[in-house]
């Protein structure tokens, strides 16, 4: 027991100890005493508006709401007294008079808080004979269906927007019985966390549009799983109906995702039934695709690999792995690579700069636990838009900011993070490197010797601006500081330079240092040797094997693609596609097949998608989370990838490859890995060089990009509802007005983008958040696949 003083209270005759000032409802909940409620939610502020939790308190002249009544010593509470029950029943009656009593046709029926509580507190006959209120439904976008007549005005959704998402999209307008929940002006609720209001809504007013009316709650089976789209590893429950995933909901894990999940994790399951699902193994014979059985397909794959090695060399094989692959799949892939003596294997598909790969820690991690983000005093995000890249990380940072943390940004765009930002510097991807040098310069006593020679050269020319000085002083201020390199920093063509500066700054300012990585399993990829220079368990390999970029720049004869669509998942779509088309063999392990893939591939092996396969992910805090496959593949012949790889491994005579379960694969790897303690300690010893800016043409600007939140991987790209969101449909080329003016395209609505030997036209959007001298687009889209590298110099002209 702690020494903290407690008070003694009595609820329903039970004597309890409680923290002074704690709310009555929390004490009751902790002690298993049931008090009905609607507006109360443990993660939201207290509204006390539904009046369902009214209880009798001794000496109080009227019943008090348990959610808003702090406990005091000697308090005597009665939750089931005649007075309390009368108050609760009265509230129930009021809630029901205008609520439709048609549960059988409501999507929420069977899992409705109002329905449940009405069973206990509602009358069986209505005394209400007046006309019922009818409220027009609102169209608030592709994810959330509304049936506003059912709304009981608990304002959980409103408070969620204000307090959790950080965006006030829903609000209550009107007064009295004319109070309406809505957006006021019709518009989409576009927050990346918006789907949580579906869970929060205690009635059927806000339901999930994609799964609405498709199954009853009691017909669903629930399975635990882990979200597969970012490095957070949010805990989810998958609900299946007759073997098909019907919906995904959050599963409480206080240290990871609390009780929320991002929309991407909630709605991506729709891809499982996408048209482009690959259901049978396919082989290309004389340029024609033929369905075949597994054995034939695997024999052909084995033959192609063996022939490439014997005709040329093992070095002519390239293996590209999605960072969303499971730990087990990765382990088997590494075993196969070792057997082939081919270390051309990589998961860093969008990375351009590998100069300091030898300096990378055993696996990249956050620098603290996810929950500890809330307690930080100062955070510097470099090349990161966590709201779209790791929404639950942004949520934690938002909580930190609300507690007073100083959030600083160095980005290509002045992103709206929906939280107070202390200082923000924007620059082109190239300018970011220079700004990092400026930041280093702004910090007193920096250990210049720790910088790489290329970084030192930049440091010597660095100039400190006010904004950079502000960031420097914040990051050096008292308290726990964290410097984070985000997805865009790691994809930057000068990643090694950025990291060299960031590490030097972190060291002198006593800050923690961390990464926000792509995909669900980047940490696992490093631990299982999904890089050319590290073996199983991250042990060093003495090879000069090719990284992801080099494998495409120096085309290989045979590519093995694991869950990868090169035109979207790599740093340079054009380069990747060319390499694929030129290769003799492209073997794809994939749950989906696109027409593009059919053009370059030679063997297509259908694998189970997320939710269908068992496996494990290691999240950004080094937490291993395993899950099992939940939906049978049905008439689909797809197989869990670990099984496919095991059979392929057997046929290639890989040693110790007779696993009979994914757990065995995992344990084999874990026995090599041992302790998985996150440790980002490292120093950057080698880096790229920032070439002189030269004299770019009059129409030239720096192209920068960020992977679109709903285009991150092959599953998300096929989730139909997510594809209808404003984020997914955003294909505009953004530029700020000053740069537009300089290029003489200020009034253009369409521009042509000349880049990499091609010319593409696009809609122009003047957007002041974009850095000077740069143009910004969402990457991994149909538009950018026609372009080229995610970062580079482009020419813009008005159409």
């Amino acid at each position: 027991m702690s020494d903290k003083p407690t008070v003694t209270i009595e609820i329903d005759g039970k004597t309890l100890q409680a923290d002074p000032g704690a709310m009555l409802i929390d004490i009751a909940d902790a002690n298993g005493i049931v008090i009905p409620r609607f507006c109360y939610h443990k993660k939201l502020s207290v509204a006390a508006n539904c009046r369902m939790c009214l209880v009798e308190v001794e000496k109080a002249p009227k019943p008090l709401p348990a959610c808003a009544t702090p406990v005091t010593d000697g308090m005597k509470v009665f939750t089931r007294s005649a007075k309390a029950i009368a108050a609760q029943k009265a509230t129930m009656e009021f809630l029901l008079i205008n609520h439709p009593l048609d549960c059988p046709i409501c999507d929420q029926g069977g899992e409705c808080e109002l329905q449940d509580v009405a069973m206990g507190y509602g009358g069986d006959v209505s005394h209400y004979t007046e006309g019922k209120r009818v409220v027009l439904d609102k169209n608030i976008g592709p994810l959330i269906a509304t049936e506003m007549t059912r709304c009981i005005h608990c304002t959980r959704c409103v408070r969620f927007g204000e307090e959790i998402a950080g965006v006030r999209e829903l609000g209550a307008t009107g007064r009295g019985e004319r109070t309406r929940i809505g957006t006021y002006v019709e518009q989409t609720v576009a927050s990346e966390l918006s789907g949580n209001v579906i869970d929060l809504c205690p009635v059927g007013a806000l339901t999930a549009k994609p799964s609405r009316y498709s199954a009853r709650a009691w017909e669903l089976r629930q399975h635990d799983s882990i979200a597969a789209h970012d490095c957070v590893g949010s805990n989810i429950s998958i609900h299946t109906f007759r073997g098909q995933v019907n919906r995904v909901v959050p599963r409480d894990h206080e240290e990871i995702n609390e009780c929320w999940i991002a929309d991407r994790d909630r709605f991506s399951y729709q891809a499982l039934s996408a048209k482009e699902r690959l259901r049978t193994p396919l082989i290309k014979v004389d340029g024609e695709w033929k369905e075949t059985d597994w054995q034939t397909a695997l024999e052909m794959a084995q033959a192609a690999i063996t022939k490439t090695i014997s005709d040329y060399s093992p070095d002519q094989v390239g293996i590209l792995v999605s960072p969303n692959a499971t730990l087990e799949e990765m382990h088997l892939l590494r075993k196969i690579a070792n057997r082939l003596q081919c270390h051309n294997i990589d998961h860093r598909l969008r990375q351009r700069d590998f100069a300091h790969q030898q300096d990378m820690p055993r696996f990249p991690s956050l620098g603290c636990s996810i929950a500890a983000l809330e307690e930080l005093s100062n955070v510097l995000l470099i090349g990161s838009n966590p709201r779209k890249e790791q929404p639950m990380i942004a949520h934690r940072l938002r909580k930190a900011a609300a507690k007073g943390a100083q959030i600083c940004l160095i980005n290509q765009r002045d992103y709206d993070l929906a939280m107070p930002v202390a200082a923000s510097v924007t620059a082109s991807y190239r300018g970011m490197v220079e700004q990092m040098a400026n930041l280093a310069k702004a910090i007193p006593n920096l250990d210049v010797a720790a910088l790489t020679p290329e970084a030192k050269a930049l440091y010597s020319k660095a100039v400190v601006s006010d904004a950079i000085g502000e960031i420097a002083s914040r990051i050096c201020a008292d308290g726990d500081s964290l410097i984070l390199l985000g997805n865009q920093a790691m994809a930057n063509p000068y990643f090694s330079l950025i990291e060299s500066f960031a590490r030097a700054v972190a060291k002198v300012s006593n800050s923690r240092f961390g990464y926000l990585t792509e995909g669900a399993n980047t940490a696992g990829a490093w631990l299982s040797g999904m890089v050319p220079h590290r073996d199983i368990a991250g042990e060093p390999l003495d090879t000069t094997a090719l990284n992801a970029q080099a494998m495409l720049q120096e085309p290989r004869n045979l590519y093995l693609l694991h869950n990868v669509e090169p035109e979207f998942d790599t740093a340079d779509a054009a380069l990747a596609l060319k390499a694929m088309h030129d290769a003799d063999h492209v073997i794809c392990l994939t749950p989906f097949v696109s027409s593009e893939m059919k053009r370059y591939a030679s063997i297509l092996l259908p694998i189970a998608a997320f939710a269908e396969t068992s496996g494990s992910y290691v999240n950004i805090e080094g937490r291993l989370q395993s899950f099992t496959g939940h939906t049978p593949v049905g008439e689909n012949q797809a197989r869990p990838a670990w099984k496919v790889l095991r059979v392929l491994g057997n046929s290639l005579e890989v040693e110790d490859c007779d696993f009979i379960s994914s757990t065995e694969v995992r344990d084999a790897l874990l026995s090599r890995v041992g302790e998985m303690t996150p440790d980002n300690q490292a120093s950057v010893t080698a880096s790229a060089e920032l070439p002189a800016a030269g004299t770019p043409g009059p129409q030239a600007v720096y192209l920068g990009s960020e992977v679109n939140i709903y285009r991150t991987d092959n599953v998300t790209r096929r989730a139909s509802a997510l594809q209808q969101t404003p984020d997914a449909r955003d294909n505009a080329v953004r530029i700020n007005s000053a740069t537009a003016e300089r290029l003489g395209i200020g009034s253009a609505r369409q521009v042509s983008v000349k880049y990499n030997g091609t010319q593409v036209s696009a809609d122009l959007l003047v957007d002041e958040t974009v850095a000077d001298d740069s143009v910004w687009v969402y990457a991994a889209t149909e538009f950018t696949r026609k372009l080229g590298p995610m970062f580079g110099v482009v020419e813009l002209e008005a159409n």
Binding site: A48, R51, F94, H127
Partner: protein
């Protein structure tokens, strides 16, 4: 014995000017306090002696309220005046703002000094355009005379005062909804605790008083708490303004000592119009229970006597009804008002006020059953508790109680009229 406090200057020419106010000793109390640096405790004690009870309707002792916030406590604090006079029947604060705005300015200055607030807000009802302009002019005059602003009269005391015009919501007269409204938010009452003295305007300690309470303060301090106490009754000192409306010959505001018999007040107001029979009186604004005329004629106008008689003094809005009045029609009007003015935040009030209004409407239209009368009573109790059984309501603020008290009292005293509407499908009074 009338017009001795807030209406003291009513007889003067242009009483709202600084000159007129000063001619009768205005701002002398403030000057004395600032000169002598009177301890806040002394002021609070004087108010306690006076037994000035809050004139907004709840009757909370003003001296006690001021004692919750200490002058020396650090940090920003606020004094707020509630001039959002929205209670149907009440128009006393309007006339203070129109005819004696400087008394309010001085009262707020003294309050600011006592509780250590350097900023005051005067929240004025949206429809009060003329009073707002008078108040603005008064603040300008006071500022020009060095009575507002920094280092007032060289004392080191800073005080700034702002008028804030509401937008026509009755609920913004509820003190915490009023604070929300000043903050630019939707006017919805806050749940208490915490009370404004701990967490008020912009989260800072705040004292909120009614216009009449604050405007009474200078006169109380000038003449002494004992003087004020002796004007009224031992449990409620001073005089109070009653806004007499309805079926009387001379409707208007009357500032008379607390404890004056209603009979006398009615006489001052010229008696019931056309010499008709007094039927009923709502003595404290539309929220308080109605009393039949014969009962009312025996009651004195003070807090305790009203309570004993089964009603409340409220804001002092005396609504007089003669025997041509259909009580069902009156209740229909009142219930409709509360339905419209519910803020919609909490369930019983949002859903219940509309239900009440619809039942009463059906009764009035002759479309109700006897069951509806019981239901009406039942719903009213579920919204606002039972005044007669001393059971409080179930809502965040008192609007639920306010909507329920008329219903319960009309049914208690005039049930026969309601039954007549049910039974005969027409009105007992008008015959239609």
């Amino acid at each position: 014995m009338a017009n001795e406090v807030c209406f003291k200057n009513l007889h003067l020419d242009e009483p709202w000017t600084l000159a007129a106010y000063q001619s009768s000793g205005g701002y002398s109390v403030l000057k004395k306090i600032l000169q002598e640096q009177t301890p806040a405790q002394t002021i609070v004690e004087e108010l306690k002696t006076s037994v000035l009870r809050g004139r907004g309707g709840a009757g909370f002792p003003t001296g006690l309220k001021w004692s919750f916030m200490r002058r020396d406590d650090p940090g920003q604090k606020y004094i707020v005046c509630n001039s959002d006079e929205g209670e149907p029947g009440t128009c006393k604060d309007r006339d203070i703002l129109r005819y004696n705005p400087h008394a309010l300015v001085e009262g707020m200055l003294i309050a600011g000094y006592t509780i250590g607030a350097s900023v005051g807000y005067n929240y004025i009802r949206g429809e009060f355009w003329e009073p707002f302009e008078r108040m603005e002019a008064a603040i300008d005059e006071a500022r020009a005379a060095g009575l507002l602003g920094r280092n007032i009269l060289g004392s080191g005391f800073d005080f700034e005062l702002y008028n804030h015009l509401g937008a026509g919501a009755y609920i913004c007269g509820e003190e915490t909804a009023l604070l929300e409204s000043i903050e630019g938010k939707k006017g919805q009452p806050r749940f208490k605790p915490p009370f404004p003295a701990n967490y008020g305007l912009y989260g800072k300690p705040t004292t909120i008083n009614n216009t009449e309470s604050l405007a009474s303060v200078p006169e109380i301090l000038r003449n002494g708490g004992q003087w004020f106490l002796e004007l009224g009754k031992p449990s409620a000192g001073g005089s109070k303004i009653f806004s007499v409306s309805g079926h009387v010959n001379k409707p208007g505001n009357y500032e008379i000592p607390l404890g004056t018999p209603f009979r006398d007040l009615l006489e001052m107001a010229g008696g019931v119009r056309h010499g008709r029979k007094l039927k009923a009186v709502i003595p404290g604004g539309s929220s308080v229970p109605v009393l039949p005329g014969e009962l009312m004629m025996e009651v004195d106008m003070d807090y305790d006597a009203m309570m004993e008689a089964g009603t409340l003094l409220g804001s002092g809005a005396v609504i007089v009804m003669d025997d041509t009045t259909c009580m069902v029609k009156v209740l229909e009007n009142l219930s409709h008002f509360y339905m419209n003015e519910s803020c919609g935040q909490c369930t019983p009030c949002r859903e219940g006020t509309g239900w009440l209004a619809r039942i009463v409407h059906r009764i009035e239209q002759g479309q109700a059953s006897y069951e509806d009368l019981d239901r009406l009573e039942d719903v009213a109790e579920k919204v606002g508790g039972n005044f007669y059984a001393r059971e409080g309501g179930r809502t965040i603020c008192a609007l639920g109680d306010a909507a329920s008290m008329p219903v319960l009292s009309f049914l208690k005293h005039f049930r026969k009229e309601f039954e007549y509407h049910v039974e005969h499908k027409r009105c007992m009074v008008s015959g239609f």
